[in-house]
C-alpha cells in the first residue's frame, strides 16, 4: 500500500516517470489493476481536479498530472477487460475556418479529455467539410467549435449549416466558445450550448451528454 501512496503522489506531482514506475511495482507486487485505478489513480485525479478548482493548481500542473495518469494507464490498459470503461462521450473539436487561435481550444480539449471524453482535435482553420467528415469517421456525439476573431464567428454559423446540409445536425450536439462568442450568439445560430471557459465546457458537455439542453 505504501507504493500506491507513492503513485498517488506521482500523479499529484505530475511526474510521469515515477507514475509509470510505481504502477509497474504495484503490478509486480500483484495488485489488481482495477484496484490501482479505482483505489488510487481516480482519487488522485479527483484531488488534482479539486486543487485546480480552488485555484491552488494551475493548468500546467493539471496537464502534467494528466500526463502522469496516462503514463500509468498505458501499462494498465492491456490488462483490463475489453468491456471496460467507456468514454463519457465522443467529441470532435476545432477552431473554425480562417482562425488560428488555438490556445483556448486546446485547453478545452485537454479538459474534456481529463473529464473522460474521447477527443478528436482537428486543429485550427478547420473548414465545415472537415467537421462533417470527422463526425462521420469518429461517430461523434458532440462537436466543439472555437473562434476568437469577430470575423470568423460567422464561420460557426456556416459550419452548423453544413452539418444540416450533410444531414448530421441532429446526430450531434454543437457546443461553441471563444472570447467574442456569447450565449445570445449561440442561440441565434442554433448551437446547443455556449461555454464561457474550459471548466464550463466540460460541465456543459456532460449536461449535453445527458440530453439536457441549456435554455
Amino acid at each position: 500500500m505504501t507504493d500506491l501512496k507513492k503513485l498517488h503522489q506521482a500523479i499529484l506531482d505530475g511526474n510521469a516517470k515515477a507514475s509509470a514506475e510505481e504502477t509497474a511495482h504495484a503490478l509486480v507486487a500483484g495488485v489488481d489493476p482495477m484496484t490501482i485505478i479505482e483505489g488510487t489513480m481516480i482519487p488522485a485525479m479527483d484531488e488534482v481536479g479539486r486543487l485546480f478548482e480552488c485555484q491552488d493548481y494551475f493548468v500546467p500542473e493539471l496537464l502534467l498530472s494528466g500526463r502522469a495518469m496516462k503514463a500509468a494507464m498505458q501499462l494498465l490498459r492491456p490488462l483490463l477487460a475489453k468491456s471496460g470503461a467507456q468514454p463519457v462521450g465522443r467529441v470532435v473539436i476545432g477552431t473554425v475556418k480562417g482562425d488560428l487561435h488555438d490556445i483556448g481550444k486546446n485547453l478545452v480539449a485537454s479538459m474534456l479529455e481529463g473529464g473522460g471524453f474521447d477527443v478528436t482535435d482537428l486543429g485550427t482553420d478547420v473548414s465545415p467539410d472537415r467537421f462533417v467528415a470527422a463526425i462521420g469517421e469518429k461517430n461523434a456525439d458532440i462537436v466543439c467549435l472555437s473562434a476568437l476573431l469577430t470575423v470568423t464567428m460567422p464561420a460557426m454559423k456556416t459550419t452548423i449549416e453544413a452539418l444540416e446540409r450533410a444531414g448530421v445536425r441532429n446526430k450531434v450536439r454543437v457546443l461553441i466558445g471563444g472570447a467574442p462568442v456569447t450565449l445570445q450568439y449561440a442561440r441565434e445560430i442554433g448551437a446547443d450550448g455556449y461555454g464561457e471557459n474550459a471548466n464550463a465546457a466540460v460541465a456543459l458537455a456532460r449536461e449535453l451528454g445527458k440530453g439536457t439542453l441549456r435554455p
Binding site: Q55, D56, Y57, F58, V59, P60, E61, L63, L64, G98, D99, L100, D102, I103, N106, L107, S110, G123, T124, D125, L149, T150, V151, M153, P154, A155, P180, Y185, N197
Partner: protein, 461 residues
C-alpha cells in the same frame, strides 16, 4: 552597449532619446504624448459580398475618430490599421482600406490642421501553414506584397506582430514550460525577427516611411491573458514578458525606429535600451484585454493606445470614438503635468507606477527602476539568447527579492513557482548551440521547420 536612457529622471513619458517624425507633422518622443487609436470590424464575414460594407465601415470609423479628435483638439493622432487575415491573404483588399484611411487623414490635416500619421500592421499569416513557412510560400508572398502596397497606398509607418517561434511557445505556455518558451523566443523568434525586419526596413527605406516596431504579443500577451484567467501563474507571465525583450529588440538593431507597438508591454525596456519612442496601452485598452498593469503601462509611454475596439454602438457613439475620447483626455493629463516641470512629470509617472506595482509581478517588472536595472544587464550580453537568459534570471530575482522584502505581493499558490522558475533559469545552458542541439533532440523539433529559421547548419554541426 550602454543604455539610451541613463537615469531614472530621464525616463519619462513623452520624451525619447531618439524621437520620430512621421506622417503629417506628427512627432513622437519630442515632449508630447499622442493618442494612438486602433479599430476593427464588428462580428461579420469578410467576403466578396460583404466587401462594400467592410469599406463603408472603415470609412465610417476613420471619419468618426478624426472628427472627434479635431473637436477635442488632440495634439496629434496616430491611427493604427491592423489587417484581418482576409485582407493580408488578399493584399489588394488590405490596400483598399489603407487608401480609405489615408485619404481621410490627409483631409483632416488639411482642413483642420490635425497632425496625424497612419501605422499599417499587416497580420502575420505565415502560420496558416503548419508547420509554418516563414520565408516563402503563398502566405509570405501575399504578406510581403501587402507591405509594399501599403507603403504605396499611404502608410506612414509599418509594423507587424510577428509570430516566429509561436509554434513552440503555444504548447510551452500551456505546460508552463519556461525553457521551451525561451527556445521559441530567443532562438526561433529572434532569428525570424532578423529576417523579417531586414526585409521591412528595406521596404520602408525605399518608400521613405518609418519602420516602426514589432510586438512579442503572441508570447507575452498570451501569457498575460492566461494568467488573468488564472490558468498560469502571474510570476511566470511576468518572467516571460521580460524574456521577450531581446526578441523585440532585434527589430531596432535591424533599423526599426519606433514607435513600438502598443501591445508590446515590453516597451519600456525597448525605450531604455534602444531609445525609441514607445506606444503603450493599459486601462485604455481594457476593451481589448483586461489587465493588471492598467496604470503602470502608461508611465513612460510616448503614444497611448486603446489596442483595438470594434465598431459597436454604445449609448453615446460608436466604441472607437469613445476610446479616442478617453485617450485624448489621458494625454491631456500627462501633457499638462509635464508642462509644469520635469519634477511634475516624474511625480505623475511615479503615481502611475506605485498605484499598480505592488499588486502583481507583471506590474513590478514594468517599474522604471526595475526596467533600468534589468535593461542594463540585457544590454551587456552579446546575443539574443544570452540576453534572454539574463533577462529571465534578473526578472525572477527582482520578483523574488521584492516579495521577500514585502514590497510585492505574490499569491500563496504562486510562491512555489518562484523557486521552480529560478531552477529552470539556472539550468539554461551557457552556449546557444548546446541549447539548440538539446531542444532539437526533443519532440519540440517536430513543431517547426529548422530551415525556416536558418538553423539547419547549427543542428547539423
Amino acid at each position: 552597449m550602454s543604455l539610451a536612457i541613463g537615469s531614472l529622471s530621464e525616463f519619462l513619458f513623452g520624451h525619447a532619446p531618439r524621437p520620430v517624425s512621421c506622417g503629417r507633422g506628427l512627432e513622437l518622443g519630442k515632449g508630447t504624448v499622442i493618442p494612438e487609436i486602433n479599430f476593427t470590424l464588428p462580428a461579420m464575414d469578410i467576403d466578396e459580398a460583404t466587401w462594400p460594407e467592410v469599406r463603408r465601415l472603415y470609412a465610417e470609423m476613420i471619419e468618426g475618430v478624426c472628427k472627434r479628435a479635431a473637436e477635442l483638439e488632440a495634439p496629434g493622432l496616430l491611427v493604427e490599421f491592423e489587417t484581418l487575415p482576409a485582407m493580408t491573404i488578399r493584399p489588394e483588399w488590405g490596400r483598399e482600406i489603407v487608401e480609405i484611411l489615408a485619404t481621410c487623414l490627409h483631409g483632416y490635416y488639411e482642413k483642420h490642421g490635425l497632425k496625424n500619421a497612419l501605422r499599417v500592421t499587416p497580420n502575420d499569416t505565415r502560420d496558416f501553414l503548419s508547420p509554418s513557412h516563414m520565408r516563402d510560400g503563398q502566405y509570405w508572398e501575399a504578406m510581403a506584397q501587402l507591405f509594399e502596397m501599403s507603403a504605396a497606398a499611404g502608410a506612414d509607418l509599418l509594423s507587424i506582430e510577428s509570430t516566429g517561434g509561436k509554434e513552440v511557445c503555444d504548447e510551452a505556455l500551456r505546460f508552463g514550460d519556461l525553457r521551451q518558451t525561451i527556445f521559441g523566443l530567443a532562438i526561433l523568434g529572434a532569428r525570424d525577427m532578423e529576417f523579417l525586419w531586414k526585409h521591412l526596413v528595406g521596404v520602408c527605406s525605399k518608400a521613405n516611411i518609418v519602420p516602426a516596431g514589432d510586438s512579442a504579443c503572441a508570447f507575452g500577451n498570451t501569457a498575460m491573458v492566461l494568467a488573468d484567467q488564472k490558468f498560469i501563474p502571474r510570476v511566470l507571465a511576468a518572467v516571460i514578458r521580460v524574456a521577450s525583450v531581446p526578441r523585440s529588440l532585434v527589430a531596432y538593431r535591424m533599423g526599426a525606429a519606433g514607435p513600438s507597438k502598443d501591445c508590446a508591454y515590453e516597451g519600456p525596456y525597448l525605450k531604455a535600451i534602444a531609445g525609441v519612442p514607445i506606444s503603450m496601452e493599459g486601462r485604455s485598452s481594457a476593451c481589448a484585454h483586461l489587465t493588471h498593469v492598467g496604470n503602470i503601462a502608461q508611465a513612460v509611454c510616448d503614444a497611448w493606445s486603446n489596442e483595438s475596439v470594434q465598431q459597436v454602438r454604445l449609448l453615446s457613439a460608436y466604441a472607437p470614438i469613445v476610446s479616442l475620447e478617453q485617450l485624448v483626455y489621458d494625454c491631456r493629463l500627462m501633457n499638462t503635468a509635464a508642462a509644469g516641470s520635469r519634477e511634475d512629470a516624474i511625480r505623475l509617472r511615479d503615481w502611475l507606477v506605485e498605484s499598480d506595482a505592488a499588486l502583481d509581478p507583471q506590474a513590478w517588472v514594468l517599474r522604471p527602476d526595475v526596467v533600468l536595472r534589468i535593461a542594463e544587464r540585457i544590454a551587456t550580453e552579446p546575443t539574443p539568447y544570452l540576453q534572454t537568459r539574463v533577462a529571465a534570471r534578473c526578472a525572477i530575482e527582482e520578483i523574488a527579492s521584492a516579495h521577500r522584502e514585502g514590497r510585492l505581493r505574490v499569491s500563496p499558490q504562486e510562491i512555489r513557482w518562484i523557486a521552480k522558475i529560478e531552477r529552470e533559469v539556472a539550468q539554461l545552458p551557457g552556449q546557444e548551440s548546446e541549447f539548440i542541439d538539446e531542444m532539437l533532440a526533443t519532440p519540440v523539433a517536430e513543431k517547426f521547420l529548422p530551415g525556416e529559421y536558418g538553423i539547419e547548419s547549427v543542428a547539423s554541426r
